[in-house]
Symmetry: C2
Subunit: 364 residues, 2 copies
């Protein structure tokens, strides 16, 4: 048997969980990161280097059958250059679209995927236009390097808007209408070889301070599921995508609005490790290698709680029935995603009770 090797650009917790999902399948992952102690580098051989360094990327590529990534905020040009020597999934142009809010929104619109109303803010001169067209409050977001609530400000007046513009560095941005949402949901899709597709059930997400706090899945709404699948299906086709693709939506009274997409496995899909028949990590690997996809069906109900800053005592968490613990191997730091806990139960009410028990443990 010819075992496969997959190179992962980035070695955070996503790279770590991808590498761990690979071992049972006989897939050896190699990770690229600047730090030898990165979560992924603790469980898989690492190439040390910057994620945008052509030589480091070439070295990674030389060791593997296919290159993928666990982060979208990487320079696209070196990834595109890599296409001359190896396969890169997802395609670099999907990465490019996901790392620039304007490109992303433009893509959504071109595919008739409903999204928030927005105004391009290239300079101070555009702030007035944004205020007039969108009203208050509005959200100013840098076009690039936005994740976990970074690079954005909610503002309610022209003075706040001007201050936010300066605070965010006066870089190319967009202003978005503030959306009154009922809830936030996300859909994780995966596309393999020969246009094989699979969609996980919708998950309901709660953010705190811009960072995902918890996910409960499945969020059952057949109509929303069908809409979201159609839109992600359009994205998969338009981008000739391979691998896992995630879109986060606002659910409003008038339906779903696409907020942003991530060309990778996603925090809101961590519940799939125990809560679905095949995890997002295994399905991403299967997809980039062109192997058949696994079932995305949920096993009962699942809840995922991010562990931020520091880990709670593992013995207290494991004493809660149905609790599974995921330690990313990081050192503590305020606000840092250091692990997550997943609960699975056949009964949704009991699941939520146990979720509250874990939340109390971590001081929420």
């Amino acid at each position: 048997m010819n075992r496969k090797r997959v190179g992962i650009v980035g070695a955070g917790q996503l790279g770590r969980m991808l590498a761990l999902a690979g071992y049972p399948l006989g897939i050896e992952c190699r990770v690229l990161d600047t730090a030898a102690e990165a979560p992924g580098a603790q469980v898989a051989p690492a190439v040390l280097g910057r994620l945008d360094d052509a030589r480091a990327l070439a070295e990674l590529a030389s060791q593997v059958d296919v290159v993928t990534l666990e982060i979208e905020n990487v320079a696209v040009a070196p990834l595109e250059a890599l296409l001359e020597r190896t396969t890169v999934y997802p395609p670099p142009r999907a990465v490019a679209a996901a790392q620039d809010r304007l490109a992303e929104k433009t893509l959504f619109r071109s595919l008739e995927i409903p999204t928030t109303q927005f105004v391009v803010v290239d300079g101070e001169k555009d702030l007035g236009v944004a205020a007039r067209e969108l009203g208050w409050p509005l959200v100013l977001k840098t076009r690039r390097m936005g994740y976990d609530g970074r690079g954005q400000r909610v503002v309610s007046s022209e003075a706040e808007l001007a201050a936010a513009w300066r605070e965010l560095g006066g870089v190319p941005s967009i202003a978005e209408q503030w959306v009154r949402f009922v809830r936030e949901v996300s859909l994780i899709a995966v596309r393999g070889a020969n246009d094989e597709r699979a969609f996980y059930p919708l998950a309901e997400n709660v953010h705190r301070d811009g960072i995902l706090a918890r996910t409960v899945a499945p969020y059952v709404d057949a109509s929303l599921q069908a809409h979201a699948e159609r839109w992600l299906g359009a994205l998969l086709s338009a981008l000739d995508y391979r691998g896992v693709l995630t879109v986060e939506f606002f659910q409003t009274e008038r339906g779903l609005l696409a907020n942003e997409m991530a060309p990778r496995v996603h925090n809101s899909g961590h519940w799939t490790i125990e809560g679905a028949e095949t995890s997002q990590f295994e399905n991403h690997l299967r997809a980039v290698l062109g192997w058949p996809l696994g079932s995305t069906r949920a096993r009962g109900h699942a809840a995922m709680l991010n562990l931020l800053g520091q880990l709670p005592p593992i013995e207290a968490v494991l004493a809660i029935p149905g609790a599974h613990f995921h330690d990313y191997g990081k050192s503590p730091r305020p606000g840092r995603k250091v692990g997550h806990c997943t609960l699975v139960d056949g009964d949704r009410e009991r699941l939520l009770e146990r979720l509250r028990a874990v939340e109390r443990l971590v001081g929420l």
Copy 2:
């Protein structure tokens, strides 16, 4: 957080799956093996050395919080000596009982656990007694180093018995009455700190040429489950056990007969990775660290097929709905356990159909 380290004596597929179960829990395993390319040494740092080498064991112990093992056929004296410097679970005397068929049978009898009738065969002089007391056919088994059908012969005449005795090396043995069984089942128990206990559902096993071919679980029979749990409970107490303990039974028309026990995670428990709420590997680690145990409940029905000799094409296996693949990272060799495939399904009949599909793939 003070992360835990567990040392594993042996680095075969069991050590590999233990190490992989450890990473999400923040447990770093260290394995001891003679070969740097051993399955477990591919996924965890290794101490290279013989499993009975006191210095190698001491080096392993110096790196970890607790020492455990993935194999029972190791010298007990060096393990006992290790108790002076670290914790060893399961207790070495449980290992001693499991590696000697006479000690094992004697222990079963002392706890009133039904087992096959047997005669001690210390020399040629005992062969006649065995023949008279047990009748034909009988099974001659060496007291030590028996696993996967090794060290045993079924014989049907005095001439065959004498020949078998010589073939097996004329070593201390036992002769057992041949048992007409309805099926073979196994029970996996786990005992943690403070006498916490958990039992997986019974699993039904099929052996071919003495090697486990497949397991289907749960095998639902409340009465047999209760009997088996009582007997394993008695063993856990008698041995002051910690970790996973497995007993294989023959189911006869008059109930269960204990055949043998293994003081470790077991091939007939591989289905628990996807088929139970907590795998035997995770529960073994939780137990030896004194952490709360996880639920042993089955998620629907599961079937496990051992992949022997060489791996089938992974793409063909993964195309079968519900199939999960486990590659042990070994090179092919006739009869060698190189991996396994697990199927999970809510419907037992559909599960068995899919199992037949995998069996056809591997030429069974």
